[in-house]
């Protein structure tokens, strides 16, 4: 499948490939057809995380160029997990990027004179994954991060992304390190049409992390544990929907991870509150909370693709992938979407 190399001007120009996991039928639609693909009584759950400018260019104390990509917040406001790259830019494939010099605890990094960090620990998963402590907090930290940070982006894109291009139309707290992209085609008008069709909409916040680092041992460990918060109203809506025979449709794999993690914590019932999604979802995973998925079109071999197999057998995905490639669908975060739900 070809990648979308730049965001479309209009969110509504996104194509929708509706795959029915029971019959195997593939239906070519547009995102504006989504209300007709759902039923009255269904619930759509979106991830309202805004996306941080999580890529920071800086230098080591010795002057070597590095790029730090924030990978996960911690419970301490100054401490973050991050992935280090050496020189080069997003225009190179991540797997072709030189590694950063190996930096141990106590090493310092400076970011444009406005922000600095000290490495506190190196992960056993990979020497590239480090725990950092920034030199400021509160408004000073966030202002500096938004000043020096740029969107995390990959080599298939045509140019540097402005910050607003990596936000969904319903973005709230900036928890995501990469855009929860399945929700990007949804605008306020589409939500209105869904509600007119009797479909409810609820939100949760999930800190969607990095999708790729170019380091095979690190990539094999993705996704890292990701924090989430489920509001009381959303937990109630999930319970109500399932009790009345409606279907819960997750917008994006991050929503699946949050709801299924919460369902396990609640012994089958999604409760409200904070959590850390550690569950790795794949073909063998039994789903407790989610019946369907609106998702970006992910390629075989990625952790996202693995998760899709909880909803339908790999064979259906392979067929859908071929259909989408032949039909000119576009993949990656600014591409088209798939809906996996009984038609």
């Amino acid at each position: 499948m070809r990648p979308a190399v730049w965001p479309r001007d209009g969110r509504r120009e996104t194509r929708l490939l509706h795959a029915d996991p029971h019959t195997g039928a593939l239906l070519d639609r547009w995102i504006t057809d989504l209300p007709g693909s759902l039923r009255a009584g269904d619930l759509l759950v979106v991830n309202d995380a805004a996306t941080l400018p999580a890529s920071l260019r800086g230098r080591t104390a010795g002057g070597a160029e590095v790029e730090l990509r924030l990978a996960a917040a911690t419970s301490s406001v100054r401490e973050w997990w991050g992935v280090l790259f050496g020189g080069g830019t997003w225009r190179q494939r991540t797997e072709d990027r030189p590694a950063a010099p190996e930096l141990g605890p106590g090493s310092t990094l400076g970011f444009g004179g406005q922000l600095a960090a000290t490495i506190e620990a190196v992960s056993p998963i990979s020497p590239r994954l480090v725990l950092l402590r920034f030199d400021r907090e509160g408004a000073d930290f966030w202002a500096a991060l938004y000043q020096v940070g740029r969107p995390v982006q990959y080599s298939y894109l045509a140019g540097p992304l402005p910050l607003w291009q990596i936000q969904t139309a319903h973005a709230a707290r900036p928890w995501a390190l990469e855009m929860p992209s399945a929700g990007r085609p949804l605008d306020t008008g589409t939500f209105d049409e869904l509600r007119r069709h009797g479909v409810s909409i609820a939100s949760l916040t999930h800190a969607a992390g990095l999708s790729s680092t170019g380091d095979s041992s690190l990539d094999a460990a993705l996704p890292l544990p990701e924090r989430y918060e489920i509001p009381v109203a959303t937990a109630a809506a999930v319970g109500r929907t399932r009790a009345h025979g409606g279907r819960v449709v997750a917008v994006g794999t991050s929503v699946v991870r949050a709801l299924e993690d919460a369902a396990r914590a609640g012994r089958g019932r999604v409760g409200p509150g904070h959590g850390l999604a550690t569950l790795r979802i794949g073909a063998a995973t039994r789903l407790f909370a989610v019946d369907g998925l609106l998702t970006g079109l992910h390629s075989p071999g990625t952790s996202h693709f693995e998760l899709l197999q909880a909803f339908a057998p790999a064979a259906l995905w392979a067929t859908a992938h071929r259909h989408a490639s032949a039909g000119g669908y576009l993949d990656h975060e600014f591409g088209d979407v798939g809906l996996l739900l009984a038609a």
Partner: protein, 240 residues
Amino acid sequence: MQIEGAAVLVTGGSRGLGAALGHELARRGGRVVLAARGLRELRAVAGAIRAEGGEAHALEADLGSKDAIYPLVGAASALVGPLDIVVHNAATVGHLPLRSLADTACEDFGRVLEVNLLGPFRLTQAVAGQMALRGHGLVLAISSDAAVNAYPGWGAYGVSKAALDHLIRTWQVELGASGVRFLTVEPADMDTRMYAEALPEAERSSLARPAEIASRLADLIAGGEPPDARVRVAPGGVAA
């Protein structure tokens, strides 16, 4: 709208009505982010609010700059959570001393529209989606008597405020059903630096104090449904 615990963003928060509103909303339990150009002045206001026991954060931003909006909303939401209340208070009167339209440079007119109109449009757009999805939020724009009456020298400012009124009215008819409230307020003339710079020879004793207006505005926010989408606020109270 409950102010206690609400995530609040006030633009133009370094002085005048914005600073006064920051104090008043923080005093009532709001978690306040103040935005303006000039970090020193802004930090002093936030520091004074914290010294009173309130929560306030200072974020430098030029509301007339397109690139400033998402960093501001992102950093503010990181600090206090999804924004519940946004007050569009930042404004410029344009060229000083004031000039008639015949003598106004296009660039000066454009800058007034960027700050007073496009800034609030962009900022509202960056928060309205999450507010509509949560079915909760208040966007309050500070307008002016110059939006309704034409005064010599106030052309660019008056046009920007008239358009701001209409912008807010349109947001209200488009998203009001979601539970988000959009409101413009015309405060009485206040004793602020902006007013003094625009009208240096004005008699100050007849002007309202920003703190009085801020207190009435906070009452309006905390109260039930205001009488209209555009209201006038004076030290004595609120009128449609």
